[in-house]
Amino acid sequence: MRYLPLTQPDRQAMLAAIGARTIDDLFVDVPSEARLSGPIEGLPLHASEMAVERHFSNLARKNMAASHHPFFLGAGAYKHHVPASVDHIIQRGEFLTAYTPYQPEIAQGTLQMLFEFQTQVARLFGCDVANASMYDGSTACWEAIGMAGRITKRTKAVLSSGLHPHYVSVAKTMAKYTGDALDTALPELSAKTDSERLLAAVDTDTSCVVVQYPDILGRIEDLSALAAKAHENGALLIAVVTEPVALGAIKSPGEMGADIVVGEGQSLGVGLQFGGPYVGLFACNEKFVRQMPGRLCGETVDAEGKRGFVLTLSTREQHIRREKATSNICTNSGLCALAFSVHMTLLGEKGLRGLASLNHALAVEAAGRLTQIDGVELVNDSFFNEFTLRLPKEARPVVRAMADRKVLGGVSLGRLYPGVEQLENGLVVAVTEVATDEDIEKFTTALQEVLA
């Protein structure tokens, strides 16, 4: 078997050295009734590399890949071009097959990369510090709510109706068990967000206000007033960014007063991957650093005075604090954080600004063309690379019918908010740099045909 180096003579020699007759002697502590006498029945036996590859090729062909078709889906996961060098670097064995950097003398590569990543994320979000990443945006969002609870010692969180519904679901799942009260609402198909509701809901029992920026419908709104209101009441403002490329074009949440900024980093370097693995971004004001969840990398010196990096402030974490830890998280999303960081380094300030302008311009053009279709209206006043259309009929079957025409034309609000009638005509459309003029044309034609 190609992955197992021991030979039969090796095994015999090792058993003899141990003083065991057969391998079964090493499993004596397993009660005999639980020991299986041979390979589990009903499962296939080992297969060659070629056979396995063939199996996967066949399954892969049954999916419509984003790069093979006009593609306009977003709603928390975005298709961007990932430079070839990103994948080359993350496949280097020294990154791919390393472990968490618990022995810093032989893990400076991962540690320095994480320090650079933390700095990039903090700067992008306009915050003082960032951690070494979380599982994804949705879990980072819940962790931020929990952190606000620890800081304010309050349990009421006010969630914007523009927060991704899956993120709301994750928070609801957790809140059921932690006793937190979540003030939530459904969005409306309107250019106006529910910031008035949020401003009214914040009081001195509120731990935090959670706002997505740009929000699930693509709308962009100034967060300053909300930040001020939250701070007046001793609450924190948490901003959630699901499309970090947007911050190449618009103000960062930190600039507008957000105390904690979390996000989904998938857009840069990671790819769509059918939903995972992704990379949760988590940044905050420096004074809250000891309440942060997750791993942190910090700078120090070695015994010869050379600069080096280590995992630090570990006493917040589960392996030391156990049931008193800030979170049960035990990992980060290291390799995805590397992909994010390499992509960001390749872009640089200039590249990110340029990428953001290109995304915005193509989205504005696409919105203009799509709204020329009879009965199709643009919901947003403001947007970055994603906007919501109101169709003259239910959007979900329209998306399926466009898929039959080989166009992947957005995410229907019916999929995101099943059973909510007032949203069912909504279609969320994301337009990134991968969309060609021809793609936008095919999308417009398909939508027109399906609606006709």
Partner: protein, 527 residues
Amino acid sequence: MTAINQSGWKPEMTALRPAQDETDVAGTYTGNKALMLEEPLIFEIGHDGSTGIDLAEAPQVASRLGGLQRNRDIGLPGLSEPEAVRHYTRLSRQNYAIDLGFFPLGSCTMKHNPRLNEKVARMAGFADVHPMQPVETVQGALAVIHQLAHWLITLTGMKAVAMSPKAGAHGELCGILAIRAALTARGDARSVILCPESAHGTNPATAAFAGYQVENIPATSEGRVDLEALKARLGPDIAGVMITNPNTCGLFERDMRAISDAVHAAGGYVYCDGANFNAIVGRVRPGDLGIDAMHINLHKTFSTPHGGGGPGSGPVVLSEALAPFAPLPFVDKDGEHYRLVEEETVGEHHDKTFGRMVAFHGQMGMFTRALAYIMSHGADGLRQVAEDAVLNANYILRSLQDVLDAPFAHSGPCMHEALFSDDGMAEGFSTLDIAKGLIDEGYHPMTVYFPLVVHGAMLIEPTETESKATLDQFIGALRSVAGRAKAGDQSLKSAPHHAPRRRLDETQAARKPVLVWREPEQAVAAE
């Protein structure tokens, strides 16, 4: 509170050390040592105006940004592609990795990561598919999830599996939430979860995260759960137990069935931490031991790469009692058609779910890799995996127990990892010194100071993908290092001597945390 960075530090700023005599070697101007190359931060070598990506010119449009145009620089230096590739390649060479050598990190299962798995995960049909595409356009992706689920259920002898948890600790949370949902459904508000002291820290942290109080279960002198003490504590307030099996001392919990029966009789549920499943995969089905929920670290047993600390993946297999409470989403099959059970269809098919744990469907990139690994091995190969992993660990245990204290060597064979303590070292020498000595020998050290129940613990997990020759050389190296620690060799106290860095000052890092880079003048101003 923030201290200044050593920003602007360059290797050549460490004083160039001249040779002391004709046998000495002078330092170098660059700080480099041939192939051991120093590398600055991107913030010290990149520029705002540099980029490694060419973009099309954006068409002129009227901005729709709502008046929120960014008017401040972000401060993101860029590098051209050759500079970026060199930067990260140089950094990579400061890392130890499985590809470079033996990595016997106990409890972490650092086995070889087959490259076929990387290839299949990158097929466009899996890597370039959006999670919210119409299900008709992702039938192949759903088939992968369904096939992997089938393997996991069959290998564990359980009823169902929740695929979405993103890591082991996230899987633990899934299992505990399922237990809590099942108890809530029967109107039973139990408040305590029991964990052994030897448990991973994630176990008590997870139980507390889900709102439970945590109490310890005592261990026997053999290093196993004390069944009688556990039984004495069971009662109407105990929601469940979290047991790691094989446990973190490397031993199989012989009484697992009796533990499960006692917990069930008292109305509680049994969570099994599956971190050590590699020892028994294909040979023992946890379902036969009365377990209600167990997470499977795909990045351990099924060899998805650790990636320098994630991403992992932690599907949770569930018993019949807990299956109805599994989280959303869920892949189901109608004839030849795969369905995704999400919020909308939940009323019809899965109405007791405790809800959603993540935004999308879990770690697809890990599912493809794990399934490729599983299919490559097959039922016969996986059984061989467990056998070789256990054989390798016992070989290490018996080859070292005369030079290192093995507190549970008398308890019978170990499973896939061997546990030692620092008993018997010279005054002032500890596990840390042995670990750092192994670095100089070219190995990644074992897990140290875990589990907490053993003084100066050293937990060695060789895995099945190591040859006898590798093990023999490691055994020789560890015998040598242990001998130096017993003899009080002072040079071991300052090891490693040959790594890219000497021991790092973790006290300074924690007292004055420097978590981001700042420009030197800015850093000084912040002081």
